[in-house]
Amino acid sequence: MTISLEIVRDQWRPGETLEGTVSWELPGAPKSVEVRLGWETRGKGTRDTKIVETVRFDAPARSDRKPFRIAVPGAPYSFSGKLVSLVWSLEATAEPGGESEPIRLTISPTGGELLLHGK
């Protein structure tokens, strides 16, 4: 199961559109395939995670290829400090069946990760 973006870059701004394709070839037909855009925190404490946008394909074929479009959300921005980072990911999952390797994205008005402390 693979997911790819038409524009291959990892830095995105709110309001832009992620356009891409998800393709899969599974042992059996899944109940559904979803493309998910979400964020997670990484760092010292408890992890937090949220799926912000989902594109769902119901009753898909065992093997197929589908385009998707997702508007880049306005928040939260990608950031890093010493204690916590917020990391965005785009991934595809099939239920049951599998999941793609996630694509890591940076989302912010500057296009870059916001750093919460100086070097």
């Binding site: 990484r42 760092g43 010292k44 404490g45 890093s80 010493k82 204690l83 980072s85 990391v87």
Partner: protein
């Protein structure tokens, strides 16, 4: 060093699993022989919860249903509406896994222990002996800390003050790994 690059960040530390020589088979055989009621006993940060988590899929593979009771995640567990439903749901195929049994207090523990006799088993973690017969003792050593850290940072583990950290945190590996997180965060700040 920013958080997402820290080798001791939570998601990486949680990926390090309990070192159980020979896998879970022998331990679960012992659990069966004990009538499927036993405790994983050890001090804080010795891996009891990790071991309990790792045994869940092994129990399922043996045909048991597993019901994990996480008191921190289920604050309403003992409410009048919730607890009776839990007790009613227990059957001889269900093994109950209870983390940090001493959090119940003695009276509630006694009631819980009795209520779960209708289940197919009860496995708990506890800091001290006396609640259920000991299924396994979880203990740490400086060598174990070194092994875990080596899994996270490779040969760099040999250059870290692990023996001192182990001693400072009295064998609590969770706290030692948290201290290493801070060490890495600070170090990178100094070096730029």
């Amino acid at each position: 060093m920013i958080a997402r690059e820290n080798p001791f960040r939570t998601d990486r530390v949680l990926a390090v699993r309990y070192r159980l020589p020979g896998g879970p088979g022998a331990l679960l055989d012992r659990f069966e022989a004990m009538g499927r009621r036993g405790a994983l006993v050890g001090p804080q940060g010795s891996g009891k919860t990790t071991l309990l988590e790792d045994l869940a899929p092994a129990l399922r593979a043996r045909g048991h249903r597993v019901r994990r009771v996480e008191l921190d995640a289920e604050p309403a567990f003992f409410d009048a509406a919730t607890y009776p439903r839990f007790v009613e749901s227990l059957d001889p195929d269900t093994v109950v896994l209870l983390d940090s049994a001493e959090k119940l207090g003695w009276l509630r523990w006694r009631a819980f222990e009795r209520a779960t006799r209708g289940a197919g088993g009860l496995m708990i973690t506890a800091h001290r002996h006396g609640l259920l017969p000991a299924l396994a003792e979880c203990r740490t050593t400086p060598a174990l800390l070194h092994e875990l850290v080596r899994e996270l940072v490779g040969a760099e583990a040999d250059r870290l003050p692990l023996a001192r950290l182990y001693q400072r945190h009295r064998g609590n590996l969770r706290e030692a790994l948290r201290a290493l997180y801070d060490l890495y965060a600070a170090r990178a700040t100094i070096s730029g």
